[in-house]
Structure formats: C-alpha cells, structure tokens
C-alpha cells in the first residue's frame, strides 16, 4: 500500500507498540502481526491462552419488529434458532449464491440482534443489509466506530475471565450476554476464531484499554500472551475456519466452500436459495478441499494443486501448521469428490511436493471437542 495512505489504528495501538509488536497493514488497519513470535503465540493459545485485538471487526445492530425477518432473508443459517443470549455463525448470501460476508450474529432481545462483520467488508455489508431492509420495520446501525473488540482464546480463557466476569465464564459455547464493563454497556460472547474455547469482548473504544490491561495482567499470571494476526491465521486455518476474501467471496457459494452446515434450505425463503438448492441436488463442480503435505515444506496461497498429473486447482489459504508440524492448506479443487487420503501434489517453488486430501478441520482442540461446537 502506498505510504501516503492513512492507516487506521485501533484504540489499543499504543499498547501494541509498547509491547514490542511488529505492525502491518491489514485491509487498511495497522495491526500487530506478531509481538515476539508467531510460533510462540500459536502455542500459547493452544496450550494456555492468548489475547487478540480484533477491534478492526465491524458491528451492526439490527432492531425492530422485522429484525428477524431481515436476518432470515439475508442469511443462509436459520436465525430463528437463536433465542436471547445465544449466537450463531452464518453466511450472508448474494443472489448468485456467493457470499457477501461471513458473520456471527448474537440475539440480544426478542427484536434485537448484534451482527459482527469483517473489517474489509464492513461498508459493503451495511449497504447490502440496508438495501435488503427497504420496506421492513427494522432499524440498522453501524456501531463499528464505537466498539472495539478483544478475543481471549485458549483452554485457560475461562479461568482468566472468571474472576472479573463470573457470568461470562458461565456462558455456554456460542452464548452471548450484555453487561456493563466500567459502567459502559458491553457484550461478551463465548466465540472465537482459533479453534479453542474462548470469549470475545465487545466494548466501547473509550475504555477498551482498561479492559485489555486488566485481561492481560490477569492472563500473564497464568502464562497467557498477547497474540497477533500471524498466529490468528495459523490457528484459524488448523481449525478449518474461513477467511473472507481468501477462502470465500462473492463468487463462491457456501456449499462450494464445504460449509453446507450453515445452509438451511428448509427454513423458508432467503436470498440465493434457488441456486444453493440446485447445487445441493445437482452436485458441485468445485469444492474447498483440505490439503496436507506429506513432506516437509511450506505451502502458500496460490500454490497449484495436481491430481494424477493434472492441475485441478490452487490453494486459497495455506501455511505451515505449528500444531501438526506440516504444511496445510485449503483450495478450490475442480474434482469435488476426492476423499480424504487421495494423493495430490502441491507445487512449491517449482517443485511438486507429495500431499494428500485431508479432512477439515485439520485439528480439533480438546478444549472444544468436549463442548458442542456450534450453535
């Protein structure tokens, strides 16, 4: 990005710099890629706990008599399934079945929903939702500038929040609650993007630094570490979570992304349903498929994938998995019916490296496998 472009900073920017973070441009936001080491931060989250500043994420409030109607129309998942106090992961489809964004929606009250959207798609999502809300009795507010967001992730996350937020510590997976933190209205959800148990604190920017400092102090006493976008990416890929703009976009459907579980064709009409129905009945021409290297090496996004000598796609996301100690990735493969174990090759620096189709998620944490994974 050109040096003249003004990068946006979160309310925690100075805290990151004083912790020695290496900052990078992430969709126009200046955020920590790492503090000390991606491998150490990754290991902290898998074994103890990590704290992430995810204030770049956007927040949209939908309230009114038709709030649920709007969300049912604009989501692939069945939003009527969440009662107050529950959250759900879902995709916003477009008319072609492609994905406008992937979101987590919390139900705060009978006619009040809180939608967490991606930073890069925030304006697009808000315009899209407003257009779909025309003629409906629903008020939409973009609260992204007001709220910051901290993710506390790892098997020890509950222990870290339990002292100051005992009610949050009692939330079930995908539970959501409103509360006051330093006397400001805030939201805590038991959600995350790491494949570990954890919480997301959505708090007004004016007091987020105090929340960060408190959580970090408490966390440090049991070995938690501040973590950057680098480990966030390796953690989410191991857990099989999608990165919008890389794994999903307006041109690929939720079914092609192998996320059929968020598509509830029986819930009633919604945008793109016909196309998704046709795809489910007629089969897929391409599917986001897990790939694991069988030799040491580091696959990257864009690496070409071969099956029986024929190029069948390329990797959308790929990295070295610190937990599994091998190269992993996901890519849209034109042969959509390959079973786990099928032989592949991934081209890295001009060399074809043996690989296999892998089940996704690549890694399931004990901190989640004992709980119900999704709402």
């Amino acid at each position: 990005m050109a040096a003249t472009t003004e990068l946006r900073r979160t309310a925690l920017f100075d805290a990151h710099v004083s912790l020695g973070a290496k900052m990078v441009d992430f969709h126009g936001w200046e955020l920590p890629i790492q503090y000390e080491s991606i491998l150490k931060e990754h290991a902290a989250v898998r074994s103890l706990c990590g704290l992430f500043d995810v204030s770049h994420m956007g927040q949209v409030v939908a309230q009114g008599r038709d709030a649920l109607k709007l969300l049912q129309k604009t989501n692939t998942n069945d939003i009527s399934k969440i009662r107050p106090g529950k959250a759900i992961y879902s995709h916003l489809p477009n008319e072609r079945g492609g994905v406008v964004d992937d979101v987590i929606i919390s139900c705060l009250g009978p006619e009040r929903y809180f939608v967490v959207v991606n930073a890069a798609t925030r304006e697009k999502d808000f315009r899209w939702l407003r257009r779909q809300a025309e003629g409906l009795d629903v008020e939409l507010k973009d609260e992204s500038d007001y709220y910051g967001m901290i993710a506390v992730q790892g098997p020890k996350a509950e222990q870290i929040v339990a002292t100051d937020f005992p009610q949050a510590a009692a939330l079930p997976r995908f539970g959501a609650m409103e509360c006051r933190i330093f006397d400001q209205p805030s939201i805590i959800t038991r959600t995350g993007y790491t494949g570990e148990d954890g919480f997301e604190f959505i708090v007004p920017n004016e007091m987020i630094l105090r929340v960060w400092d408190n959580l970090l102090t408490k966390g440090r006493s049991i070995g938690a570490a501040p973590c950057g976008l680098g480990s966030r990416d390796t953690l989410r890929l191991e857990a099989g979570y999608l990165l919008y703009g890389q794994d999903i976009d307006d041109e690929h459907t939720s079914l092609e992304a192998n996320y059929g579980w968020v598509v509830k064709l029986d819930k009633g009409p919604f945008i793109g349903r016909d196309i998704l129905l046709k795809q489910r009945e007629g089969g897929l021409k391409r599917r986001l498929t897990g790939v694991a290297l069988q030799e040491r090496g580091v696959p990257r996004p864009g690496c070409r994938v071969f099956h029986q000598g024929r190029e069948i796609g390329s990797l959308a996301s790929a990295t070295f998995s610190p937990t599994l100690q091998k190269g992993i990735g996901v890519g849209y493969l034109s042969q959509a019916d390959l079973a786990a174990g099928a032989a592949l090759e991934v081209e890295i620096h001009g060399r074809k490296v043996p690989a296999q189709v892998s089940a996704v998620p690549f890694y399931v944490s004990p901190s989640l496998s004992s709980r119900k994974h999704h709402a």
Binding site: S37, L39, G230, G297, V298, F320, H349
Partner: protein, 123 residues
C-alpha cells in the same frame, strides 16, 4: 549486492549461514531448503530457501564454488537457525573456487555499519 549471509573459512571449506540480525527479521523459521551437495554455485546466486511461518527468503551464495555439505540437523529442527544462527544453525558448506572473492564481502565492522543504514536489500 549486499545480503545477510555470513561465511567462515575453515582451511579449504567455507561455512555459510545467516546473521543474528537476519534470523531476528525472519523469525519462526519452519523449513530450510539448502543447496544440495555437488551443486556448483556462483557468488551472489540465489541457491536455497528459508521459510518462516509468514514468508519465504532466498539464501544467496556468498562465494562461488561447489557445495560439499548441507546441515542435516536443520531438516528435523529448522528452529536452530533462530536459536543459533552463527553456530549450530549453519546452513551449508562450499569448497570455494575463487578464494579471492572473500575480499568482496563486508567484514564484521562493515556489516554492523550496514545494519545501521535505513534500508537493506537481501533479507
């Protein structure tokens, strides 16, 4: 060209690795692909790759010659490059064909000055 490999001449053999500064910049080395023994390399030629979690970095041959060994320990423990870049984390050995090329390289003091400059090429 200037880059961040070091070379240490032990009788007929030149040992090659990357500097403490370079390992810090790269961080989290997870894979090293050194040039294979028997390969002829030329001064300044890209001849191998160091991969961190985030990115790949070329390894340049500091002098011309034939590669005579690669550090086997790095295939099981690439993190040696981070923990001990100027000792256990050496990357490969060359039998130099033109020993006079060593004169072209920066010495320790010059390299320290070079690191103070605002921008570097290489790693």
């Amino acid at each position: 060209m200037k880059s961040h490999e070091w070379v240490w001449l032990d009788k007929e053999t030149a040992w090659v690795g990357i500097s403490e500064h370079a390992q810090k910049e790269i961080t989290d080395v997870v894979f090293v692909d050194p040039p294979k023994p028997g390969r002829k390399v030329a001064h300044g030629q890209s001849c191998g790759v160091i991969e961190s979690v985030k990115a790949a970095f070329d390894i340049y041959a500091p002098i011309s010659g034939e590669v005579v060994a690669a550090n086997q320990a790095l295939s099981a423990d690439p993190g040696l490059v981070n923990r001990s870049p100027q000792d256990q984390g050496w990357i490969f050995q060359i039998k130099p064909s033109q020993i006079s090329e060593l004169e072209k390289l920066m010495d320790w003091a010059q390299y320290q000055e070079y690191l103070k400059a605002p921008a570097h090429d290489g790693h």
